[in-house]
């Protein structure tokens, strides 16, 4: 019997050629993700360059930092107005989402038995499935008039507090699910050791499970902030400020975030284009958003990975 060489084991050439063709097709499909990333970067970059050229040729770079506010149609682009608005909305949202999300995660992971879990977990899943435009309507039809305005007499109908609460409700299922994953990954031996020393469930949860899962919980919170910054419709509808907004620190009044400034400029009148810096300012805001969320997502990713490495 002749010895079997590599050639016999490789199978016939036609099959091998088909195999490498298929591999290339799959590779091309996967590479579209890179292409899309590059396309996003290029389109943002192109717009940002346009924006700065318009500014330098027109009103000058001083309009990026003035005390009037963000009014793109009047060529006033005060960055700190939209930046502070974004920070405020995210802060309010996190004040809602942190207790709500972490509380739910701790209860589901440490307290609920199998059956209550099966009943309680879908609440978060359904909440996570609510489209943001629906939450936006709920804020202007209920949260702002029936909660915020009742509690604070000075609040206007369109206010940042209501919008922030709406965003917070939207992101709390995300915070809960990432945090619960992290606490779930903590090995049971740690809990048993804690119980064995006589700790009760509360002490075990707070002093053993929480520190062990802390990087995952931080990841959950960072992801929450990132989503809050990117949330568009709730703020556009419920925080008011169509067409522009003055610099404000009052959460009970109208205000604007980067996303809302983008969306309201794009929908205010159908033709936002040429001749002014208003149209390219869309891309300037987009680039800011892209940068902020990129940094936060990378940080969150790093923390998640730290949990995975540990256990």
């Amino acid at each position: 019997m002749a010895a079997i060489g590599i050639a016999e084991l490789q199978g016939n050439a036609r099959r091998r050629r088909r195999e490498s063709r298929i591999r290339r097709v799959f590779l091309a499909a996967a590479a579209t993700a890179i292409v899309i990333n590059v396309a996003i970067l290029l389109s943002l970059f192109d717009g940002v360059v346009d924006f700065f050229r318009e500014l330098v040729e027109g009103p000058g770079l001083g309009v990026l930092w003035n005390d009037t506010g963000w009014f793109p149609r009047r060529n006033l682009f005060d960055v700190k107005t939209v930046f502070v608005g974004t920070v405020m909305i995210s802060l309010i949202a996190m004040l809602v989402a942190t207790p709500l999300g972490l509380g739910a995660a701790m209860y589901l992971s440490e307290y609920a038995g199998r059956r209550p879990r099966r009943i309680l977990k879908p609440i978060l899943e359904i909440l996570a499935g609510i489209p943001s435009v629906v939450m936006a309507y709920f804020v202007i039809s209920f949260i702002s008039p029936d909660v915020v305005q009742r509690l604070f007499a000075s609040a206007t109908f369109y206010n940042m507090l209501g919008a922030g609460i709406g965003v917070g409700i939207l992101i709390s299922p995300i915070v809960a699910s990432v945090a619960e994953d992290a606490m779930h990954a903590v090995p049971n031996t740690l809990r048993e050791a804690s119980f064995g020393l006589g700790a009760r469930r509360k002490a075990t949860t707070l002093r053993t499970v929480f520190p062990a899962a802390v990087s995952g919980i931080v990841a959950a919170l960072i992801l929450g902030v990132s989503r809050a910054i990117g949330e568009t419709l709730v703020v556009t509808l419920a925080a008011g400020a169509t067409g522009g907004s003055a610099f404000t620190l009052d959460p009970l009044g109208p205000g604007q975030t980067m996303t809302a400034a983008l969306a309201s400029l794009a929908t205010g009148s159908d033709q936002v284009k040429g001749g002014s810096a208003a149209f390219p300012s869309l891309f300037f805001l987009g680039a800011l958003l892209f940068l902020f969320t990129l940094v936060l997502n990378l940080a969150s990713d790093r923390f998640v990975r730290r949990v995975r490495r540990k256990y």
């Binding site: 195999e19 489209p131 039809s141 209920f142």
Partner: protein, 313 residues
């Protein structure tokens, strides 16, 4: 005979032991903590119930007065004549774009990542860029659509058209399809693949005949989630003409439809919410009921399919 220890779970003796173990004081702090945690979940439930009650209560009169004509009527500036017909059609179109473009592309990318890619710098860059796509705010995808489809390829797409919206939406959900499909493929045990390789199958043959059939339920669930996302998303459409207050109805050819004006259910909800609540509040709530009903249908299908075909290894 195995010896079984009988543990008395109730009765005065067990109660005495339990009390002794628990300490003399009642654990009030622990109970308060547990109650506070449960409150977080109950608060979420309360929000859900209020939201649904608020919307159903407002929407009821629209369905009572107009019945199903609300579902077929076109956009209008008069609230009593405005319906969501064009929005339903538009949303179906957008989901069609997602199904035709994102599903094959996303699943193929997932197969590459899980079955073909070796752990090298390129692969790590690839999966980092997919994770990055998943984290980009949806409105930024709108800017991509605006720059590429509306401006650069306006000759093909017709500018702010259904085709631009559909392509943008397909790109938006692509990372979701890739990530969920990759997870489903990863869950198929290695032994299944080895069995295939053992009888001389090539990689593609193993994938086609073994991995994909076993991963199908998970992949399917992911694709349905992507559809739900495409249905509920409105932010990017605002930038690419998806939120008109009115556009003329009338039968158009296939290409004319693709290059023509469009809207979608969530975009209608957005436009109507911007008008005064007194005039359009009821119609908005009714449109939300329609959107939530379709979403519920889609998600229920996903859960049913998952429960029916899911297998534990």
């Amino acid at each position: 005979m195995p010896r079984t220890a009988t543990v008395e779970r109730s009765g005065p003796a067990a109660e005495a032991v339990r009390r002794a173990l628990r300490g003399k004081r009642a654990d009030l702090g622990g109970l308060a903590f547990q109650a506070a945690l449960l409150l977080a979940l109950l608060l979420a439930l309360a929000v859900l119930v209020t939201l649904i009650a608020d919307i159903l209560g407002t929407a009821l009169s629209v369905f009572a007065e107009r019945g199903t004509t609300f579902l077929t009527d076109n956009l209008s500036s008069l609230p009593e004549r405005a319906g969501v017909g064009q929005g339903i059609v538009g949303s179906l179109w957008l989901m069609g774009f997602v199904a035709v473009l994102s599903f094959p592309l996303g699943i193929a990318a997932a197969i590459y990542l899980e079955e073909y890619a070796t752990d090298n710098r390129f692969t790590r860059f690839l999966s980092a860029s997919i994770r990055n796509l998943a984290g980009i705010p949806s409105i930024v995808y709108g800017l991509l659509g605006l720059a590429i489809f509306v401006q650069l390829f306006s000759g093909l797409t017709g500018g702010r058209s259904l085709m631009s919206g559909g392509l943008t939406m397909a790109i938006l959900v692509l990372p979701i399809v890739i990530i969920t499909a990759a997870e489903a493929i990863r869950a198929v045990p290695l032994a299944i693949r080895e069995a295939g390789f053992g009888v001389g199958a090539t990689r593609w043959e193993v994938v086609r005949s073994h991995v994909l059939p076993y991963a199908a339920p998970g992949v399917l669930t992911g694709t349905i989630l992507a559809l739900a996302r495409a249905l509920g998303e409105a932010a990017p459409l605002l930038l690419i003409g998806g939120a008109p207050t009115f556009f003329s109805a009338g039968s158009r050819g296939f290409l004319e439809t693709l290059q023509g004006e469009y809207t979608a259910l969530p975009a209608i909800i957005f436009t109507w919410s911007r008008k005064s609540l007194r005039a359009f509040g009821e119609s908005t709530a009714a449109a939300i009921v329609v959107l939530l009903a379709v979403l519920l249908l889609i998600n229920a299908t996903a859960i049913l399919l998952r429960n029916r075909y899911e297998r534990k290894w």
